[in-house]
Amino acid sequence: MSIALGCSLEPAIPFAFVHELIRQRRRELELIGPISDIAFDMLIGAGCVRRVTAAWIGNVSAGLAHCYRRAMEHGVPNRIEVRDHTNFTLAQALLAGALGAPYLPTRTIIGSDIARANPTFVPSTSPFDGTPLLLVPAITPDLTVLAVQRADGDGNAHLWGPWGVAQEAALAAGAVVILADQVVARDVIASDPNRTIVPGTKVVAVVEAPGACHPSPLQGRYARDHEFFHEYHRATRTAEGFAGWLADWVDGTPDHAAYLARLGERWPALRLTGTPAAEARF
């Protein structure tokens, strides 16, 4: 099964969903996402992953991704296949999927080894002027998981802050799961339909999951827990260290409420109140 997540890049990563995938010991996943800031690293370390299609896998403020390194360098816990992308090629692949187009043509990375390392790309030339192009084939995830500030019960979802590749990923997917910080009445969504990132017609499940993105931030709701990323980085240098981290934070917490409770005072301290957007009347 292919799953796109972390599609707003560094913020709004649905870590609560990642943790639950690990708790359920899902296997053979194909992960799709641009940056994924430790989310993919955890899933790789937990042995859930068969293939990764990504532009960058690491710990944005702290450094390299230890589990990803162990998998690639030593096959621990298992070998994984990597399809190298850039942020732009991944955005184009998902946009092609969202448009129902077979591919998008681009000039990025035509001289990069990425263009050769990823066997899905096809070199081409423009029939309009004969210049070299690279064709980036569509990616259509089986499932895209988005974390948003609010959604109604049908899955019509408002996201503000960076959209990254989230909208393309949702529209390209066979199905979408929404983790909403708040589930709200339909009329709240319908009061501002330009704020909707994905319509309910694409959504198969809506979960009210406050704090679902911790340790990543959610605009106007809570800040990034920078120190948590550093703790993860230090704790997961060894496979044993990662096992311990997992036992503490994932398997040691039966659900996301328990995970937040384990954070203690640290969690309410991250809360943001934000500043209100200027009024718009429809």
Binding site: H85, R107, T108, G111, E168
Partner: protein, 257 residues
């Protein structure tokens, strides 16, 4: 005289800020370039505009130090918060003047590796994080500004994997493979500053704490030195004050010291 306790990071930030011209649209990125953008805006380039590849455009720097470009303070007060592909579209169209990137390895032609150490992509000796948007910026910005830690293992005769292309094997290569423009203009390291001449890095200045000899020792290719090689201009007290106000803990500017 510059203050005596200036860190290499601060020298690099000051130099990077000088690379931003007033009114330019710059793909800023994170870490030192982010702070260079703050310095440039508050000194000689008040009309520069910062673009962040996840989908943000700012005409004023964020009020707080950022740990990632997606931190809430980077969205608050932005003039545009959009999609990654909107920003990348501007880049591919040629609407972006300059971009910053870093890397684990670079060669004399400015080709960068951020993907893998080792000959075999599928069995790396060191797995690096990958491109992110770096390869896109290197491919499509009008002008590339590279920032790197400087040692022989990083400045290599050949890199194991070209993630972000510079000038390939030399002049004419970018045209030949089909890039519409661009290439590295400058390489700012922890030891000195290189300019690219005929698709090749030439040392133009060494930082106060370094020398041409040090740099030759720490460079994995046969060093080319400009006739007018000189000491890098140290950051002024004003610039240092801006840097230290923005990054009071030295999270980015004194990292790893």
């Amino acid at each position: 005289m510059a203050p005596v306790d200036v860190s290499p990071g601060e020298v690099m930030v000051a130099q990077a800020a000088r690379e931003i011209q007033d009114g330019e649209r710059v793909f800023v990125g994170m870490r030192l370039p982010l702070i260079a953008f703050v310095v440039a805006k508050r000194t000689h380039a008040p009309n520069a505009v910062g673009l962040f590849e996840l989908g943000i455009v700012r005409d004023q720097p964020a009020r707080e130090l950022l740990y990632t470009m997606g931190d809430p303070p980077n969205v608050a007060g932005a003039v545009w918060c959009a999609r990654t592909i909107d920003l990348m579209g501007l880049l591919q169209r040629g609407d972006v003047d300059a971009g910053f990137i870093g890397g684990a390895e670079i060669d004399r032609h400015g080709n960068l590796n951020t993907t893998v150490i080792g000959e075999d992509r599928t069995h790396p000796s060191v797995q690096l994080p990958g491109s992110g948007g770096g390869a896109d910026i290197a491919s499509l910005a009008h002008r590339l500004i590279v920032i790197m830690a400087h040692d022989r293992r990083r400045l290599r005769e050949r890199v194991d994997f070209i993630t972000s292309p510079g000038y390939g094997d030399g002049p004419g290569w970018r045209d030949r493979v089909g890039f519409p423009r661009g290439g590295p203009a400058v390489l700012i390291t922890t030891l000195g500053v290189f300019r690219f001449v005929g698709g090749e890095a030439v040392l133009r200045s060494y930082h106060t704490h370094s020398s041409v000899a040090d740099i030759r020792e720490q460079t994995g290719w046969e060093l080319r030195v400009a006739d007018d090689v000189h000491q890098t201009e140290p950051p002024s007290a004003d610039v240092l004050a801006i840097v230290r106000e923005y990054d009071p803990e030295g999270f980015w500017t004194r990292r790893g010291e």
